[in-house]
Amino acid sequence: MQAGNVTLGALAPERDRTLVVLSRDGELAVGLRERLERARVVVKDARPDESLTAVESCQPWPWMLVGDVADLPPGVEAVPVRHPVLVLWLGPPPCGLPAHARSFSGFSELADAASRALDAEVGGMRLATGAGVELPGGRLARSASLQALVSAHPAGFNLPLAAFTSAARALSGSAVRVRPRRDSVTGWVSLQ
């Protein structure tokens, strides 16, 4: 019996918090998987030719995009410039990444940054296990844009404020005092 149409699990649809790693050999993904608490993030290890499928398999979008390739595979750039995706790059970032992308010269620094993003806490909010944000009092907010803002805090995203509508909605009526706001100096949207 043939296995038939078998698709890599890394390219299967995923609704939990997802970190997509774009690399040629997988070493970066293996290292990150060992460093990060797996109940809190799913690491998808993609090769350049699989990148777009891997990114698009994350619903609604990847929580974080990490890579070490010199050129961004075609189509991938559209996602982090449209949605709040944290972007960490090992080595010089390729053209096409948004301005909020951060680059690192070593793996340890990059892994520390990814770990800090998972552990971030803002105004009593922190990332919930699996996906979403735990608000003070224990209520779960599923907003992916709020999840991104909490992880990026105190930095933010070079995106329109409209990209954070679900975050503002999740926070309205809550005891949390911060809201997604455009920084008057940088022009980026962050929790303030």
Binding site: A12, R15, G26, R33, G130
Partner: protein, 224 residues
């Protein structure tokens, strides 16, 4: 559903497969045993209530499999896509190789790795640690039900077993029947005043949350 929960065992060595089967039977599970990935894939794809394993134990190195038309990687891909609610442990003698780890987790991003060189007993110990791990005032018994320890009341549904075994992770359920069972389990927990509660993450995704502290990691995680 009161049938004992299934566990899928994929191992090309008949003696080892038999040992695993006996171990899970002794824990009350219903083992589905396969020596070839192709057979395991066929069983998973046929579906039905008898092939919805809560746990899968997969040998990465299937060189002695009688049918080589599919690999352990293929079986993991099918598990990741079609049985994402199943907890998967893959064991290999090459766990140190980043290429092997990469291949395993590309096939199944949530799979746990176990080093074969630690011996067969260590795999059984790890499985037992996972099965015996209490979640708040709950524990799995005989592979088929969840016990509320203070009252000794039992909840007989494999989806309840699945949620306890996978705690603290989110589990995606694949049918309305399963999600109804999960909600009934949530009501059962509330009636018993358990500190554990079922939390919905939308789109048929649920997890057990325990008020107070949550564990830092799953009990199936390798010991550091």
């Amino acid at each position: 559903m009161k049938a004992n929960a299934e566990v899928l065992l994929l191992e090309d060595d008949m003696a080892k497969l038999d040992e695993l089967r006996r171990h899970f039977e002794s824990r009350g599970f219903h083992p589905l045993t396969f020596r070839s990935a192709s057979r395991a894939i066929a069983a998973l794809r046929e579906g039905g209530p008898a092939t919805q394993p809560v746990i899968s134990i997969v040998d990465w190195d299937l060189t002695m499999a009688p049918d080589q038309s599919a690999s352990s990687s293929d079986a993991l891909c099918v598990l990741a896509r079609d049985a994402s609610d199943c907890l998967v442990i893959v064991y290999t003698a090459n766990a140190d190789s980043f290429r092997v780890r990469s291949a395993i987790n590309r096939a199944h991003p949530r799979a746990w790795l176990h080093d074969k060189r630690d011996g067969d007993a260590s795999l059984m110990e790890r499985v037992d640690r996972m099965l015996d791990h209490p979640v708040a005032d709950l524990r799995v018994e005989d592979g088929s039900f969840v016990v509320h320890v203070p009252s000794q009341d039992q909840c007989h549904h494999r989806e309840a077993v699945r949620l306890v075994l996978r705690h603290p992770e989110i589990v995606t359920f694949h049918s309305d029947t399963a999600t109804r069972a999960v909600r009934r389990f949530g009501d059962w927990l509330a009636r018993h005043g358990s500190p554990a509660a079922v939390v919905s993450h939308g789109n048929r995704r649920y997890r057990l949350a325990v008020s107070g502290t949550e564990p830092a990691s799953h009990p199936g995680a390798p010991r550091s």
